[in-house]
């Protein structure tokens, strides 16, 4: 879960990493007040999209009146599909150099990875690999100051900056552990007056660890429908097609989306009804699909732990209550298949036992797919 910049900055400050003076503002009046206190400032839209600056999400104000005007223009504006609701007013920096530093998880090595570069200020993917220094952390040891000194040396830093960087990486790793971060990144890590200061920060918290971070505000970046389905506890991603999809298990759901595309159709969504879904959540999931007003609904179930008769009951429940006003294609195979198929047949729904012809049929019913 991504955190807003102002929250990430707050965490850095708590851990003793220098940040510019700044505060969250909710309206033009607060923006004016902030600039009166801080002096010339950047007003930064608090939205969770990259490339915020280029999109007009960071503007400057030198005095309170200007801040009021700029804030009035920014609050409510659309930034890459997100409405700007709040700004972070931050003292303007006279930046001498821009570095990069982050701590993340190396999925292959299965240990934390510290990446640093003297070529910061741009997305790290755009930095030449030869300019990035990588140091892996033994999670049983953690990051001690020597680790930071070695990192500074590899980067070619000396004197004050080397000392400050060594100190900073210890703190950054402490944040990574304490906050269960997927990513904690300072970019740019600015040099101002010969000292390091975190000009921008990103903090993504591991969703699975939220149970031990009860005070963290839950931020669901999804569309309204995505948020609704996430609240039911299902994995759901909106896509831009018109064939709605439900499958059981993440891999199956991905494969089902792929199959629809393979036959020339356009999937409307990814929906994992769970590897062992029972009647009620399956019915809820199907309700969501119906509410999307798709052209076709395709249900693809390989019953392992999921029982086919449960899925059939869920389908019938929705059919008999909300109704299913669009063509429905069901592929049902596995545990209790006979019972499930019989239940559906009684209601006039025939089920496929193979995935390929079922996916193909769903695309045909939409019309215009490849044969």
């Amino acid at each position: 879960m991504k955190q807003y910049e102002y929250l990430a900055k707050g965490v850095l400050r708590e851990h003793g990493i220098p940040i510019p003076p700044g505060r969250l503002v909710n309206n033009p009046g607060e923006a004016a007040e902030a600039v009166r206190d801080i002096g010339p400032a950047a007003l930064k839209a608090q939205v969770l999209v990259g490339g915020r600056g280029k999109a007009g999400g960071i503007r400057f104000a030198t005095n309170p009146d200007e801040a009021r005007g700029v804030a009035a223009a920014m609050i409510g504006m659309d930034l890459k599909g997100y409405t700007v609701e709040r700004l972070y007013a931050e003292g303007k920096l006279e930046i001498e150099r821009e570095f990069y530093i982050s701590v993340t998880t190396d999925r292959n090595k299965k240990i934390p990875l510290v990446m640093a570069s003297l070529a910061g200020g741009v997305e790290i993917e755009d930095v030449d690999d030869s300019k990035i220094v990588r140091q892996w952390v033994d999670p049983r040891v953690g990051v001690l100051p020597y680790f930071g000194r070695e990192l500074a040396q590899r980067l070619g830093l000396e004197g004050t900056l080397a000392k400050e960087l060594a100190d900073l990486v210890v703190k950054l790793y402490a944040i990574f552990r304490e906050k269960d971060a997927e990513l904690v990144e300072i970019n740019p890590l600015a040099v101002v007056g010969g000292h390091l200061i975190a000009a921008d920060a990103r903090l993504n918290i591991d969703d699975s660890a939220l149970f031990r971070h009860k005070t963290v505000e839950i931020i669901d970046e999804g569309s309204d429908l995505e948020k609704k389905v996430h609240k039911i506890g299902l994995a759901y991603v909106e896509l831009d097609g018109d064939i709605a999809i439900m499958a059981n298990g993440a891999g199956m759901a991905m494969a089902t989306v792929d199959a629809i595309q393979y036959f020339g159709g356009r999937p409307a969504n990814f929906l994992d009804a769970g590897g062992g879904a029972s009647v009620e959540p399956t019915a809820q999931a199907l309700d969501v699909l119906v509410s999307m007003k798709p052209k076709v609904i395709f249900i693809n179930i390989f019953g392992g732990i999921t029982r086919c008769d449960d899925v059939a009951r869920a389908i019938l429940q929705v059919k008999n209550t909300t109704g299913i006003p669009v063509p429905l294609v069901v592929r049902l195979v596995g545990t209790n298949e006979k019972e499930g198929v019989a239940l559906l047949e009684q209601a006039g729904i025939s089920a496929y036992s193979d995935m390929a012809p079922a996916a193909q049929r769903a695309v045909e019913l939409r019309g215009g797919g490849r044969s």
């Binding site: 299965k110 993917e125 269960d180 298990g249 891999g251 195979v333 596995g334 390929a356």
Partner: protein, 290 residues
């Protein structure tokens, strides 16, 4: 033969008194798995499906000589359970729960490496060796059959789909290993492939991968010296970047973890890469005869 799990394993179930633990213990026993007991703090003296329940792994091992454990406890307690198993000398730990914090998984995997133990998962359907009538996991019992194919997969239901098509196509399995859908898991494709390479009964391997991370790319390097036919199917062709496709690990982030990159690497390594799950059997037939 099978890899990692045989009928000589002695299995305990951590979290045996919970709903999942009870249900799957029954299924494992029905399949023939040598389950010897269970652990559930505070429930010592009771029994589940005729198996003794202990308060601690230590007590369970003293009585049963267990050497393998399957963990069903809820994610917030999974690290504790895994360490309890590892510190007491369990050599094979299968972690079923989803939503275990990544940092906990890193700690578990690091400790397992230190102790020379094998961790499968987290967020896995487990491992099954059909010829040994032994499984540690939540997969359905009826879809597998003994035979010469090794299967290694990241995802559960998708691997069921493919294993069942293998069985129906006349290709039984030595062992099917679920790596798990999380960003950090105990096994890599390489570590599992290595077991299949050493196993004389495994004639060919089916890899079931997906978007996210670079486990498939790393595996491709290893495949160049693997020496047995490999068929690979990867899910997530139509997945948009930046979105988690159900599994915590299935995400294209900052241009990494794309299907194109994985398929290209596997193709270059000589694997037979298919586009759709129902194409696996034909590709396998061709790869074995060719």
């Amino acid at each position: 033969m099978a890899v990692l799990l045989t009928k000589h394993s002695k299995v305990i179930v951590q979290g045996i008194t919970g709903n999942q633990g009870q249900f799957h213990t029954k299924q494992m026993l029905a399949y023939g798995t040598p389950v010897v007991g269970g652990v559930s703090p505070g429930k010592s003296g009771s029994s589940v499906h005729g198996l003794p329940v202990f308060d601690t792994v230590e007590a369970a091992m003293r009585t049963t000589n267990a050497d393998a454990s399957i963990v069903f406890v809820p994610a917030p307690f999974a690290k504790d359970a895994a360490f309890e198993a590892l510190e007491n000398g369990i050599k094979l730990v299968v972690m079923i729960p989803e939503h275990i914090p990544v940092i906990d998984s890193m700690d578990i995997v690091a400790r397992a490496q230190e102790l020379g133990a094998t961790v499968i998962g987290p967020n896995t359907f487990g491992i099954i060796s059909p010829g040994e009538h032994t499984k540690m996991g939540i997969m359905p019992n009826h879809i597998y059959q003994n035979g010469p194919i090794g299967v290694v997969a990241r995802s559960g239901t998708l691997s069921y789909e493919i294993a069942f098509s293998l069985t129906n196509g006349g290709f039984g399995q030595t062992t099917v290993v679920g790596m798990g859908g999380d960003p950090v898991v105990g096994q890599t494709f390489i570590s599992v492939l290595h077991h299949f390479k050493e196993d004389p009964d495994t004639r060919a391997v089916v890899m079931v991968g997906e978007i996210g991370g670079s486990a498939e790319e790393e595996a491709a390097e290893y495949l160049k010296s693997f020496g047995k036919p490999v068929v690979a199917y990867l899910a997530g062709r139509a997945a948009p970047p930046g979105k988690r496709m159900g599994h915590a690990g299935a995400i294209i982030e900052r241009g990494r973890g794309t299907l194109e990159s994985k398929e290209k690497a596997l193709n270059q390594a000589g694997a037979s890469v298919v586009t759709m799950p129902w194409q696996v059997v034909d590709a396998l037939r061709e790869a074995i005869s060719g």
